[in-house]
Subunit: 424 residues, 3 copies
Amino acid sequence: MSDLETLSASVTALEESIATTNGGLDVFYLLFAGAMVFFMQAGFAMLCAGSIRAKNVKNIMLKNILDACGGAVGFWTIGYAFAYGGADSSKLTFIGNSDFVLANIHDGASLIGWFFQFAFAATAATIVAGTVAERCKFEAYIAYSLMLTGFVYPVVVHSIWSSSGFLSAFTDDENKFLGSGMIDFAGSGVVHMTGGVTALFAAKILGPRIGRFYDADGNELPEPVSFPPHSVALQVLGTFILWVGWYGFNPGSTLGISPAGYADVAALCAVTTTLAAASGSVSAMFTDMLMTRKATGETMYDITMCMNGALSGLVGITAGCSVCEPWAAFVIGIIAGWVYIFFSSLLVKLKIDDAVDAVPVHFGNGMWGCIATGLFASPGLVANAYGTPNNGLFYGGANAGSSWVLRLLEEVGLDISHHKGAAY
Amino acid sequence: MSDLETLSASVTALEESIATTNGGLDVFYLLFAGAMVFFMQAGFAMLCAGSIRAKNVKNIMLKNILDACGGAVGFWTIGYAFAYGGADSSKLTFIGNSDFVLANIHDGASLIGWFFQFAFAATAATIVAGTVAERCKFEAYIAYSLMLTGFVYPVVVHSIWSSSGFLSAFTDDENKFLGSGMIDFAGSGVVHMTGGVTALFAAKILGPRIGRFYDADGNELPEPVSFPPHSVALQVLGTFILWVGWYGFNPGSTLGISPAGYADVAALCAVTTTLAAASGSVSAMFTDMLMTRKATGETMYDITMCMNGALSGLVGITAGCSVCEPWAAFVIGIIAGWVYIFFSSLLVKLKIDDAVDAVPVHFGNGMWGCIATGLFASPGLVANAYGTPNNGLFYGGANAGSSWVLRLLEEVGLDISHHKGAAY
Amino acid sequence: MSDLETLSASVTALEESIATTNGGLDVFYLLFAGAMVFFMQAGFAMLCAGSIRAKNVKNIMLKNILDACGGAVGFWTIGYAFAYGGADSSKLTFIGNSDFVLANIHDGASLIGWFFQFAFAATAATIVAGTVAERCKFEAYIAYSLMLTGFVYPVVVHSIWSSSGFLSAFTDDENKFLGSGMIDFAGSGVVHMTGGVTALFAAKILGPRIGRFYDADGNELPEPVSFPPHSVALQVLGTFILWVGWYGFNPGSTLGISPAGYADVAALCAVTTTLAAASGSVSAMFTDMLMTRKATGETMYDITMCMNGALSGLVGITAGCSVCEPWAAFVIGIIAGWVYIFFSSLLVKLKIDDAVDAVPVHFGNGMWGCIATGLFASPGLVANAYGTPNNGLFYGGANAGSSWVLRLLEEVGLDISHHKGAAY
């Protein structure tokens, strides 16, 4: 039977060959996605540069670059180790404790994984740069940047995305928080809420820019003063770059494209991401126009609404991009536009000065994204993406899985969880 | 024979495994290409922003963003359904009639296909934004944008790219227009002429900006006045982004990379795209320099010529990028530069005011691209890409296929067809 | 045994199928990487535009576009043929002599290879544009650009990367220079030193801009005058675009992703590229800050240092990105920052006026990158990437391969070689 043996050897060789091809394909996929996410640094930088007064551009640009550089150093030295090091699904830990400085890691999958995760960490960090524009000391910002990418963000990631995290969906079943764990597909919560809430605290602590709510002597102004953006072209460029980068951020969060079913999930992410951005933009712009018309009688279209609306839709769909039908993505985007307007007005009322409205976009819609996933997750799609058919409230979910939104809202008052498994 | 059975099962598993890998690879390919095409939105925005007067930047930027957002909404709700829904190669229809709002579409190939096609629709829409810059009412523009991506563009796509289109090459043979159908590889006609001709009508209807050909009282000026672009840097940025995006637009139009032969076609597209852009730029710049020198005695190099020449070459090669030899791409680009200069002068003579010269670039060279394909299609390459060896006039084509350029020019006076099949 | 025959046929079909998939995957990989490298043209353009005085932007932008266009024409007509045409590893030649205008080349792998190599050639050409900004005649620049991409760069490429090059590692063993040949993974030497040294000569020949070191009458100024950049936002945009493009430049230099082991190399390149950029930026900025503080007592953070430091780190890691451990990349970046500061000061001392500091970044760190590879190449990683375990000095390399750094430094005083093989 030498023929059979030869053939058998050929088949074995083929199996290895396909495994090699798949390995190469997946590394390429994350290289592409990671580069797109890293490109978002340019988007944030342009959005910030355009949004503020010309005299402060240099200052904020320096912070934007340092976020990328400090982020890389912080995430390489300790951040990645704290986030993912030594994970063991049988026990829960606060932080990881191995793989510092990527020592002894040589396989392509892990290395490119680090690259992809680094790009996310840098994104979380740079969200803050815009908010504190025009008034944060550079040294303080460096300290913040290293702290966030080296410690705060890794702790959040570890808790939710590592298999040893106390909120994770990847621990052994008996360790899963509320029986399912908190899951966040591409990071509405992990990335955007982390960045957004940090921005909120920073803005509160630093206080408003002089002349925004109070004059130089500290007297309250009769009306809040808006500082006009100095370059709309750069703002638009930044918005488009961010939108493009999101095609790495969301579809890339499958972390691979070769396994069966992943391509369906990734393709769905591209569609839902597109629709939520579009509807968020339209929603924010027209809602603002109608509100302004009601107040002043004038019909004005505000491009800032249009841009921040699109970004709000993108943040809002980030958690649920893989489990929502296209129509749901459209609705999530519409509401994201409203969430943006609400939080933006709220900040002004609270006299918290956010130079680029990063808090409403990333914190407000980071929250909305997590809640929305609970509401709109389609049972069929969840089954595709995660193996188990948990579903959102609007599908009348009555099983254990589907009620987590309410349970979480009741029990922890914070909702950054949805169900995931296979797709990681 | 259990060994044989085991082996047979392994082979079956391998076949499925390769199919999965290929599926993933092709979705990834269109995700990449679609993201690149979408990135062109940023390119158009920067080109427009740089080309016009600073005071109008905000206005045009809003239109650019709305093209992307309105385009997504329009193409999702009805556009895609009209373009491709319910196609049946056995009968011809005016428009498609199913798959509205992507209902019931869950496979990755279709979803990512929608994403890629959406990016094309948004491109067609945004071509117009530049032309009508500085004078089109925002509400009118929104209506236009939705109409174009929701109806006009889909009708064109349906006619030429759907298997039920009356000009399509994908209908059953007896339904093929002139026996072969009209084909346009990446859309010189479908995308650029559609956008360009819309821009032409819009510019005609809106009339010129005040001070361009007539003063504020409507008196004709002795000489047309050029409005200088306010930022060359943004124009160049836009040009480069568009050029980069074209590497998604043209090679991506194979719609996949895994089937045998597709990689050869995609690689050829990258080369021909590069060469036509380069020669278009050089051609327009030096031709303009020589003409100016003859007229004025001065030697001046005009960067606008350089940029629009490159874009003209890109539009000109879009139809034939997959079937022309590199030398032919070079020649097509050279002529594209002349076509641009000719149409640009013609518009000025006709007192049609195109703020960014989008009509010469997209309409003029969209036409040229379709004609050029008929002239330069290489028999060997057509056979590679489309299965049947139709060839261009310069190869002495005398068979049925090769004479379509002349036939069409005679019969319909409009030439947006070339032969394609396998590569879709 | 018809079952066995059927199965055997299936296995053969599968083998072909995988080969097709791998071919498609590799073409896609180089399309992606080449597009990213081409995108660097936009990065250079924005960096230049931002770095110079507003009045000269138009002039330099024209040169930047012409580098891409002239580069394509020059590299297509003769450059590629000189670089790679008719290579034969059994004999050494000065330049290649076939494949002019890509005649008779139709396979996807070769075509996309041309595209990727063209993008590199255009990069080498455009490095010079910034240095000679504000004073080089346009006609002279065109002549330079064609000469560099058509002849100079191809000769360098031929010598080092072709299998007939006298310094190549791909000739037959008896022809290898010093027994191993000179190798440069992604082009610290081939691309960046070539561009950088050209810039140095050009800057020397053209002389400084008026008012930089001498006044309009040629009298020496007491202190060199810096011309402030006119747009920091565009500089930062350019820096980020270049950084993103480098993820095509370095990982893409594996020239494929499907063969076994390539994915590991590509992933490592993404990581080392990131870390060197980050540490280069931090190093240059803080070193400059400390030096300035020592000199003036003031604490200032210079964003130009931050940006050029990142670019220096990127150039510095380009040669060794595939063979250095992450920690080594970090160290290489740190030193790259110092190398930048040293060369930048040296140029000022020598009264050589480099408008964008391209010489320190590309020439200075191109050299450093080649030396660094010799010092830091890890034996394990070299074995992964190149088949033979040559190692850098810091690993105590005592075998024939490892001592090439010293040998070369002694014998030719120029070190642009490291060991490579399998990864090409």
